[in-house]
Symmetry: D2
Subunit: 269 residues, 4 copies
């Protein structure tokens, strides 16, 4: 008979034992390349996608981030790609108020981190084919597709080093707001009702070694059910979110640590 | 502000609305090709993987099933492949006793059904590359790999039509036991503790149009953490489960309906 | 020192020996599913793509064929997908006149048959991601993409059994014209000049077990160099070929034999 | 009617026009990461794979190279992976003698460079799935598979900076020997006879920015026809080539330029 060890961490299938660990494993993503394209959108349109007690922050900013993750320790040195969409929000809970970014959706091209992200943190990860970014004539490109149908093309052009003022403004704008947040929701068996509904935060630490600033651009496709039966409503919602203005886009290299012993993933309330 | 409609079914990300439906959608898998390889194993070794109140059935039978699913309605007519491993069990709950098959693990090559299976039914689905089965010189082959490392090769050879006795014996053996079962388990945020732990059943109806009987064979690989850091413990557990004797293997074509209005997926207790 | 056996067939790398054979191999494609979408186009526009002595046939018909090939003997029972584009032509050579179909381009999702087709017959095969066709609500769909960018969507709807007249008309129209043809061209080392330039035919035998007739549709994408740097000129040429009228489309299942001992692949002249 | 422009470079399908060019294109591979594992082998065993007038060089050295090519200009900034196997040789032709490396085989995970390499230079490129290399606990890994069956695992461990002596010895050993060579062979239509048989060289310039030295290791799989019907004889030949001793392996980053105006790809004789 199989029994759970209460000090261990399990995911389905749990009956073969805890999630495997290795002395070589850690939360380190040692080689990360990012394209970050933020834009101002319509406040009310964005608010329609935020469950209480999340509210749109002072500025209605949505950010699309492509990341090429390599040398990821928990994948034994392998990697994967992601395209995440998040919104600047304020969480006004009963016990705490937290400024940060609410993850609207995150596409990844590897199922393993999709499962851990969904089940351990409530990050709304879903699958897409995401090829390596390409760089041609100084312009960076990334894209995501599923079932052979394009979801998004994104690019950053006219790259230059950031000014000292930009670096300082960025540091001020993000100070104390490095709180990625999400909504861990699981329905009852069969799909109706709810088994889990809780708001979460999952801090990580990013160290950048190279940063350039440029002009970002996003081209969302509109899709129908036949083209992407599991995600078309998500893609269309994002395609219809107005781009009031693009903010400076960033291309950067660095590393990420997912595990901060003093700031673990947790429920916020 | 986003609010849930209590009559709808949601999965993460829930804030973009309920799981999409189409008038063209249903639970039908219209074109399914299967290879089914059952074997007798060691009773105690198998029991070690069953959480209470699941018990090994009268015979300690484990079945490995490859399925090539095509023309799947909820995927807008697309398909995917799976390799599932299940054990014959008796569920002896407080309220009900149920004979059927407990899903030990199910590899699939598409993330979308992995997410619905895990979150709506608790089926322990994980990802593998599973190519189309091949047929050469009358022998059928299928296999599964992840991160470029082989998990399993399976084959069925010496195919022939089943005898009337075999058909009748099979009908008797499975009557009233068509109950796929699983354990829906989700940890707390961050991975420790448990948020959901419940036993489930998720009936479906399979209609076979062609069935052949043959000699099955399974070749599991042994893997280390470097080769498959998220699944090696599962693969090794199955590789080490003794094959006391192969039972007649089956190759079949047909269709499957996942949704039986009178027998919905449910928690058993 | 490696030397060639003049009675064997070699492809690069030749120095490891002849192309491997097996007693289980043959030219049989045992399970083929096809979507065939022919259309009338502009005579002069089509003629611009035909090298002498190929001429547009009596009708300027271009046919786009999707095939899902399974249980292919020379691939040890595996399969692959293709999307081919051919034109009805007359070859008026010095020695012979031949009516048949000239292959304008053939996309395949497996490199092995691309290499054999190009090098042994001169079929202008190139790579594309081609997913399994999907069937939803009676409508068939297939598509091809490369580098994440869609090349073509094709579909066949309103399927029905062909009338006796249609079957007879088709037999008459194709009698004696079952001659697939191509132009085997290889440049000199480095890319300039020509090392091989010869016209070829490569007969095969198709046996159909199920045939339905319907309404075909083709949606070509227009692409730029950044999207598909090796094929955009081909895709755009086909996208700009006018569809004067669609002819009845066909969905069919059957088998194909690539090797006809009395009608081998050969140079025509 | 289509006619060739004698000043342009064509590949099949030639009738849609010359190989496309862009002002953004060039022969630059701007971001290349390599693992290089050389070993001493048996002189006679290696000689059996060399067509005249290639001879084994003073030392019977075979080198396996993995390269992760990114930001490749002719692919509009995309990339691909390769695993190449070459032997140190002397070409003793009628007109010239050339020391360099003869390409025994090169696996690549993208069909486009496979076709250009085969047809423009005679490089014996064939397809394999080659995932991004992984780096874990300071050890580098790469591998190649086809049809779901592993061809090769390679690794480099115990990395350290090269000594000044090693750098100098390497420079001396390779001076004037940077001549990659191959055998461009194409059979007649249908596969018998030969249409092209010529020896080639295709110089390129590699610039390394980071180089580390370590212990290499190669683990070839043995395969049968069922597992890899088009390549098993190649894989087995390499698996059976004795490793008399591993030479120092290298891990390096840098860039490559395929086009050297003064040293174009050419036939040697």
């Amino acid at each position: 008979m199989f029994t759970l060890d209460p000090d261990s961490s399990y995911m389905m299938p749990a009956h073969f034992g805890p999630r495997p660990v290795s002395p070589k494993s850690s939360g380190r993503y040692r080689d990360v390349t990012m394209m970050v394209v933020p834009f101002l959108t319509d406040r009310d349109r964005l608010a329609a996608y935020l469950p209480a007690p999340y509210e749109v922050a002072e500025s209605a900013v949505v950010t699309v981030t492509y990341a090429c993750n390599r040398n990821v320790d928990w994948l034994a040195g392998r990697g994967y790609h992601l395209v995440g969409v998040s919104a600047e929000v304020v969480f006004r809970g009963e016990k705490e108020t937290l400024e940060g970014n609410y993850t609207l959706v995150m596409w990844e091209n590897l199922t393993d981190p999709i499962l851990t992200g969904r089940e351990l943190q409530g990050i709304p990860k879903i699958y897409a084919d995401i090829e390596d970014h390409s760089v041609i004539a100084g312009e960076w490109h990334a894209s995501a597709s599923h079932f052979g149908n394009k979801i998004l093309d994104m690019s950053v052009a006219d790259l230059r080093a950031p000014t000292a003022e930009e670096v300082q403004a960025y540091a001020q704008a993000t100070e104390g707001r490095d709180n990625p947040m999400a909504w861990r929701y699981l329905p009852g068996v069969g799909g109706l009702g709810q088994s889990i509904s809780e708001t979460t935060t999952f801090p990580s630490a990013t160290t950048l070694s190279e940063t350039l600033v440029g002009e970002g651009r996003l081209d969302w496709n509109h899709l129908n059910w036949e083209q992407n039966p599991t995600q078309f409503h998500i893609v269309n919602a994002l395609a219809e979110l107005p781009v009031v203005a693009y903010l400076p886009a960033v291309v950067a290299k660095g590393s990420v640590d997912l595990i901060l012993p003093r700031r673990p993933s947790r429920v916020i309330g």
